[in-house]
């Protein structure tokens, strides 16, 4: 009996340690585990012309502070725009309705995130409201295309190559 007890103790300690390690992995190392859908939140949609490589789970920040996350992305087949669902923590319930949502890049090669810039309206965003003012992702290829087009135009205005390059940069211009 004595032997069996120490054995059980050792096994119990091992299993406990294993599950503690698993719990540590899911809660401390990942971003999702800590707030497992428990935090109160509200959902806001925003339509973008181009979201680049924005992913579900990307942070939504305001003045650099994380206020929520991207919870869903889909394509609106009527306007051919990307509809992004932003899940915003209920603590931040005083974001003006005319706020601006832009897609930025973290660092030089980092992932995309959404930055909100506060507007001046007295009404605040609620559940299922939509952000009207959006700015698309900065797509490097389009910018390079624009640069090349400008370069081609500048160097030889009479050259025929200019006409094919001018229609490339159409997507980067800011909408509203």
């Amino acid at each position: 009996m004595r032997k069996s007890n120490t054995l059980n103790l050792g096994t119990g300690a091992f299993v406990l340690l294993g599950f503690a390690a698993l719990a540590f992995l899911t809660t401390q190392i990942t971003s999702r585990g800590l707030h497992f859908g428990s935090a109160p939140h509200y959902d806001v949609t925003a339509k973008f012309d181009n979201i680049g490589d924005l992913k579900v789970g990307a942070p939504v920040s305001m003045a650099g502070v994380e206020v929520g996350r991207v919870s869903h992305i889909e394509l609106d087949l009527k306007e051919y725009k990307a509809v992004v669902l932003l899940r915003i923590n209920s603590r931040y319930n005083q974001i003006p309705t005319d706020s601006d949502a832009s897609i930025y890049t973290q660092g030089l090669l980092g992932g995309k995130f959404i930055g909100l810039t506060a507007g001046g309206a007295d009404t605040y965003l609620k559940d299922k409201s939509e952000i009207d003012f959006t700015q698309s992702a900065f797509v490097l290829e389009n910018l390079i295309g624009q640069l090349l087009a400008n370069f081609a135009k500048g160097s030889s205005s009479s050259n025929s190559s200019g006409s094919s390059a001018t229609d490339a940069p159409a997507t980067t211009e800011k909408h509203k």
């Binding site: 054995l7 096994t11 091992f14 390690a21 992995l25 401390q28 190392i29 990942t30 971003s31």
Partner: protein
Amino acid sequence: MNPVTELWRSLIEALVALGDVSRFLLRLILATPRALLRFELIVRQIFNSGALSLVIIMLSGLFVGMVLGLQGFQLLQRFGSEEALGVAAAIGLVKELSPVITALLFAGRAGTALASEIGLMRATDQLSAMEMMAVDPIERVVVPRFLGGVIAMPLLAAIFSVIGVYGAQLVGVQIMHVDSGSFWSQMRAGVDFRDVNEGLVKSCIFGVACSLIAVYQGYYAIPTAEGVGRATTRTVVSSAVMVLFLDYLLTSAFL
């Protein structure tokens, strides 16, 4: 002999072995409900293959994490993004290194012990004696060992990951002076729950594979000293190959 027929024969032999192992697994699964009734046998095996492997797992995890810290730092420094060391080490450990290295160490530490133990039971006619007493050796000897290994493996892999991340932190933050805050925050932002899940699924499957190979080799060992020795060797070799092969399959499935 003609090389083509030889190749054909070895292919057939491999297929026969695969079928045999699969049938053995089916027998183990069918015997599992009855074996669960004697839970203390399983607890003993969790102790044998899990708790007793803890020291080697923790030591290896620490060193693997520390090496990852050094190598990752060297590489990331070139791009001026040393802060990504945390996420690089954590993803590497959680998804890949900890399931695989844990499985390889498990095969060497616990798999060989299982195979030689069961093989010696076979060689000393203990299994036949059980059958004489109308005790099913599969249910009494093999299944508890198999289940013990299956339960122990994911837990060992999780411990390996945690110690490894600590080791990477030790080298990165304490020695190389990467900023501690960005080390952890980048890790939290970069590692998803799915990554942990992938590692967990991998280690569960490796646990089944390694334990199955060990008990199979032991159970069907040729009942001589040489046969048991060969079964032990085969356990390590086929476990290692199987784990690496399965790892490729699983990684591409998860991608």
